[in-house]
Symmetry: D2
């Protein structure tokens, strides 16, 4: 169940076909969900930027850090030249390394014969240690590879899947969420897609369309997660894709707008949170090839900065809705040490919205 | 008239005595309002960080850029060592230079005999060209000096004063606004104060406590400013002060949280907006003196990062409320070319809040 | 007299026609030198990026800070989108404001009728307070405008001219210096030009082509400047221009390489030094226009990152040579309080080079 | 054999007891060298910041990127709060993940009972694919742990050891190198130590004390590495330690000065190079503990910025000498595909220095 299936619309821009990051042509998402025994509740999600060899044919990208208590590998090259040259792996905090090296192995496998190269893949994480035996290192290279192989376009599974399996957000069960928007900037129109791995936020600040849902649905109604950490200790990773032709700094501008979507749903970049955002554009290709066929000078397109505000709006809206979807799609889960993370009850949410003059209109 | 006088409370933390940046001990604010003839609607605001010689005895500070279509001088030294060594001047876009050099002249005047030094003052701006003849350069060094001399503690004049004189926000008349919060982080408590020069935002996105006031109060009720620029083209400067003992990077963390307050009231860092934020801490002094008496090694205090989240909350709340105060305190103004910027009608605002389950409770 | 006229060659790449930043087509440089009475020794230099209306038709640019004890205005927009939209003013520390606002006035003057806009010009500085009455504010808007109007292509005056008038470097009289290099990157070749306002460095570290000239030419031979500040307290501004088609982050990469040229001649980014570098590319135009004719999507060219190393080499070499030219072109000057800054004796330099196996070969 | 054993002195500051990063009290270094069969030439080096539990008791740190074609994990937290909370692992490009997760496992092992936490360790790399089967993933978690367990104070093995095993620099065999300096800044004195994993640079630019050794020792005398990549494609990691009490931004200032040492020996941050630098200070401790005993407000010391220039000099000198030591200590090695990386002949180096007026003086 997603926000729009409940009749909840965030913002004013229309979503793409699947209301998912995969609405950006060529972008694919795959999950490996690892649930074993009483305490393994984790996984890997892969976001594949396009349908070619991304190692050889990178895309422009930029990142933003709202709060840095987290990891995203691959940052030096992203900051230096604004090129993303790998699928993006999302997993738990303590499995970043294994997923990172698994992506390197993938690059080795896909590398054309006779080319010498190296890989600096992007892997980000949030901490699922409330529900998952994160110190047990249950994610393997095979899990990462399976997530890559599973990547497909079309609808994206949300909630407790892939890297989001053991995650909670605003003290409700959460995980992976996605959304998209269609934007016109002059004669042309573009798609902006967002995917989140949401594991952040305090309940008291959780808001949907400005309605203080978190306060309204108190812990007497739905118990909070019995976290051994203070509320708000988790993290959120947001990945933005667009087919608008953007240069690296323009991607970075999109990445920063994820902060604003996080803010509107109640996040403040809490101290223990790793709120790291990455945006990439598929609107230019072929400018960063390997080997002798790489052009010395490539021709690329850049959307006028003066036309970018609608894209900013789209990122804010889609981030908000993706966070909401991550929570709505997740169902109650019990994990490590018997800890239970409760789902947000949909009817309670709808009732809260109605009480604050924002009734949902089921389609 | 301020938000709390109307019964509107933002967030949950208590404000300081004056609900103003001046609640941070030693911080002073002064305005010079320059209104002349039909088309001069501008001025200067000075925020003085402490009551000593700030040139010789700097404070730790950090800045954040939500969007960079604006100017804030003094950034290289702020980024390099995180020290603020000047009053902070706020004015219009085209008068940054004159205010900057006027602050240098102030430093020269205050410099102890026999000391050789230079000044790299901080001046920021927003563009008042809808109401003000900004291309006419009507701000003088004398205006800047007068704002400095007028700086005082206690209540702060808001709305169409000082640097905020000709500003509009979310398509309503706006200008200067301020707010503060008291925060406990363990055994000690601190004050966080915020001042904004608000000239940003589109009406359609303006929200108060999550209520879509901007949509509710359409241009058929209160006409928008007849700007020659697209809505949202302005800027917002936010200055944060705190007595919590913070290091430079910790100040920078506060500065970034201004983005979240801007987001919650409806800003998205629009392309043409210069959304530049500066946070400083008065909690350490004496570590950056001039001359022979400067200590080789200074002892400073630093709040544990693990205790900072309440300060983040305070910045978000106070930024939201300061923006609201900037709008509420401003009255309708007519300026250059007969352009009128209309004030937000207080009763319309209260009615909108009530419609969305957020009735104000006048004290 | 310049390095090459003395037979000193830095590096291996060939210089352009004038061995000056003006070898990049369209780039122009103008100086206003302000020498009055006993104590006024200052001025303004303007670097104009191209021969069109730079306010309306910006160029891609990036900056780097080796050390931040200095000012460069205009940074927020440069960092946000990587666009330079103004001539670059170089002056003394305390005159940044007046030059900045004079550039704004220039934009107002050049702005097409009916267009609403604002200016965020770039002005940088070094401190000439040893020789100049910097606290007396002798630079005027008229000086800045005159430097702009004087801007021309062809050979560039060096040494004690323009913004460099009162400057010293490595404890010798210095000021403005320039140099250029021709670079091939595949089928095409490009020009890289550099201009410095050099006011930095300690004599003991000054090196030419690796030869410890500063140690060799001790203060017993040429007295040091009787500075009231510790040696190395000054600053260096470096501006790099190229016709290679670079994106903003690629310009930023060039800007950082200025650090390496500074390092090789003996700078360490001393604490009191403002070592700020800006690089721009004229290789793309027309992508950031004002008004209705600005394209929604512009097509730009980008040199492959894999071809950039020769450009890095060029920046390093040209920065080294421009610093050397700034020193060689300057003649002994007496200024404020009778302070004298002595020129580096050319014969002593040549003798030092010969002693260390680097004899100059006069052409 | 090290530079000083050959009579080569870099700069003017005195080294510490071992002329090594371990001269900073508490800093330890350990290596695991992995040489197997014909093609495995790699390893891991661990730099341990102090002798306590670094996971619980971090140190202030800052980083700088001269060029970003490389990986350093852990950057978001380093940038956010300037705290280093792990040993620093150095290895090959494709083994960053396994070393990273091995450090996480170490944290889990060392974590006090009942404390919930996570680890974001710092691991950096250079690419040893000329000599090593880097695509074969021969580094294991056990190798990383062994390097940690081997960490000791005192003299540090240099050259083809640990992470440096398969590395080359300026087209000579190289690897790990270290150096240190003693600095006085007022009444107190401090130690600055540097360790490099050097795998960067072109021979034609290699310089020692300004002498163009690389040109002097051409490939007709010592053949270059038969790299399948263009010269200068490698990377250099520099880690700086000091006991001077520095805040995070001050550490970052030291980190940037590594660029200047790299520049003086001939590096330009070539496009394919990952030139990533990290500096940490052991001069403050106890400010970032875990659990209930962490202070809400810690008292720390900060060296006056006005006293930092001698530390900058020390970083530049020690970086230069550490690079030289990395080359001098390495011996000729044959690896993958029969590729041989030749050592720099010591006598040829000494002869070049003598030819350029810089004769070495053997102790």
């Amino acid at each position: 169940m997603r926000a729009r299936e409940l009749g909840i619309t965030v913002g004013s821009l229309p979503p793409g076909e699947h209301n998912a990051i995969t609405d950006v042509a060529g972008v694919r998402v795959g999950h490996t969900t690892v649930i074993e025994g009483d305490a393994t509740r984790t996984g890997v999600t892969m976001v594949v930027p396009h349908d070619g060899n991304v190692w050889a044919d990178g895309v422009y990208a930029g990142h933003h850090r709202l709060n840095g208590n987290g990891e995203m590998t691959g940052l030096p090259w992203l900051e230096e030249v604004g090129l993303l040259h790998s699928p993006i792996g999302l997993t738990n905090t303590h499995s970043v390394g294994v997923v990172r090296d698994a992506l390197v192995a993938l690059e080795v496998e896909q590398r054309p014969d006779g080319v010498e190269a190296w890989a600096l893949p992007v892997v980000a994480e949030t901490w699922d240690g409330d529900l998952n035996d994160v110190d047990g290192f249950h994610v393997t290279a095979a899990h990462a590879q399976a997530a890559y192989l599973a990547a497909s376009d079309g609808p994206v599974a949300e909630g407790s899947v892939g890297g989001g399996t053991g995650m909670t957000s605003h003290e409700f069960k959460a995980g992976i969420g996605t959304a998209s928007r269609r934007v016109s900037t002059g004669a042309e129109s573009w798609t902006v897609g967002v995917i989140v791995q949401a594991n952040h936020g305090r309940r008291e600040r959780f808001a949907v369309n400005g309605v203080p849902v978190g306060l309204d649905v108190g812990v007497d109604v739905i118990p909070g997660v019995a976290s051994r950490l203070p509320p708000g200790s988790g993290s959120i990773i947001v990945v933005v894709a667009t087919d608008a032709p953007l240069l690296p700094l323009q991607c970075r501008r999109l990445a920063q707008r994820c902060s604003l979507g996080v803010a509107r749903t109640g996040g403040v970049g809490e101290n223990s949170s790793g709120d790291l955002f990455l945006a990439f554009s598929t609107g230019n290709r072929g400018m960063a090839g390997l080997g002798a066929d790489a052009p010395a000078v490539a021709t690329v397109r850049t959307l006028s900065n003066a036309r970018m505000t609608p894209l900013f709006d789209a990122v804010v809206e889609a981030t908000e809705e993706a966070i909401l979807n991550a929570i709505l799609a997740a169902t109650t889960m019990t994990g490590k040490g018997g800890t239970t993370a409760h789902a947000l009850d949909h009817e309670l949410l709808l009732a809260a919205l109605a009480r604050y003059g924002r009734p949902a209109t089921r389609p």
